[in-house]
């Protein structure tokens, strides 16, 4: 951590963006549960921390006009996982978030920080991918919306341009109603990253049923497996085995201290099949 480290507390998005534009070495700070250990380990060395937690709109969960939900980047995960609208309409997001770290960590860790950290094992990101979330960002150049599907570029790499600030994550109303499971293997139940994470979601509000298959910790980024979803939408749960094979083909795991690539690939197949059969 640099001894000349400065700490800035803007009260509006505009002020934050201006502070960031004025200093190339600055970093935005949300919960800090990833950033502070990275700074302590010397992997990041910003000269200024721009704390976004005191910007009121970033701390809100708002209903949107299409029946969706906007979750401010600074909302802590513990508040998302118990929010009535999340539990009622987007329960898969709560299901994934509840597996992140442990309960006290989620009192500090934010949904926005989690996606900006872009861990390949980001459990919450799998739900955001599956639910077609849009990430709203702002910079001195203006505002834009990045689909979750094109946000994650690699470990620690996102589509954010230098200086861009993530304001909120928007779940579209059309993604409401998906139910399902997040099947996650880890060495212990709390405080461990996923070895393999598999989300299986289904929405029966339409004919045919809509399906979602998402994967964590088995590729450079969290993944969604569109080919498996299409197969299930065409053939229903009877295609569980085919969907599992498509997910196995889509993943690109590595071997590390949590598990070998072979194990991860096998488990993707097992968990996709299990999830699809359970949801029927």
């Amino acid at each position: 951590m640099r001894s000349d480290l400065d700490y800035l507390v803007p009260s509006s998005v505009e002020e934050a963006v201006a502070l960031r534009a004025a200093s190339a070495g600055a970093a935005y700070l949300l919960g800090g549960t990833d950033l502070l250990p990275q700074m302590r380990a010397g992997r990041k060395a910003p000269g200024q921390l721009i704390d976004l937690k005191r910007i009121p709109p970033l701390r809100e969960i708002r209903e949107t006009a299409d029946g969706g939900l906007s979750i401010g980047a600074a909302v802590v995960m513990a508040d998302v996982e118990v929010h009535p609208a999340v539990l009622g309409r987007f329960p898969l997001l709560a299901e994934c978030i509840r597996t992140v770290g442990a309960w006290p960590l989620r009192q500090r860790a934010t949904l926005g920080g989690n996606v900006c950290n872009a861990s390949p094992a980001a459990d919450a990101a799998v739900a955001l991918l599956a639910l077609d979330a849009a990430f709203h960002v702002v910079s001195a150049e203006g505002r834009r919306s990045i689909p979750a599907g094109s946000f994650f570029r690699g470990p620690g790499q996102t589509a954010l341009l230098p200086g861009e600030l993530l304001t909120d994550l928007v779940l579209p109303g059309g993604a409401a109603g998906f139910r399902g499971r997040y099947l996650r293997l880890s060495r212990r139940k709390g405080m461990d990253l996923a070895t393999v994470g598999v989300l299986v979601g289904k929405s029966s509000g339409t004919a045919p049923d809509r399906w979602r298959i998402g994967l964590a910790a088995v590729a450079p980024t969290p993944l969604r497996v569109a080919a498996a979803e299409e197969r299930l939408e065409a053939k229903g749960a009877a295609a569980a085995e085919e969907a599992a094979a498509l997910a196995v083909a889509a993943c690109r795991p590595i071997s590390d201290l949590r598990g070998s690539a072979e194990y991860r690939r096998d488990m993707v197949g097992v968990l996709v099949r299990r999830g699809v059969v359970e949801l029927g």
Partner: protein, 166 residues
Amino acid sequence: MRKTITLEVNGASETEEVEVGMTLLRFLRDRLDLTGTKEGCNEGECGSCMVLLDGRPVNSCLVLAVEAGGGKVTTIEGLSKDGALHPIQEAFLAHASIQCGFCTPGMVVTAVALLRQNPDPSEEEIRSALAGNLCRCTGYRQIVDAVRGAAAAMRAKAAAPLAVSA
């Protein structure tokens, strides 16, 4: 760089100049001599540095002191009242939930936060809430028993005036 912060710690207002890089954990231990809050892993894995910040349990090694400016912090030292231990502390004694004692302050603080939110947690809920607190002596059985015991005692106490009036 240094910043002046004012925050409330265990009910007392504290104003100090701190380095921006100083964690809330080091601030509590080194500046305020509140050494009940322990430093274990210093990267948010072990929970031994747990404190309440504005009522929420947080790993104080993952919070900068400057971030806590304007906030209210409760440490293990702030839980007893007039020399009387908090019911959760009493329950840890009664259930022999303390071995080496290093994790105990963090365990108690997380349990305080849990029982405020959920006065009657199941064993599964207790284990889930405490999943971020590691006991290096592995005495989890007694710790879970203590939290269950404390929850029952606190509910009984809360219900007592009603029982009398009925």
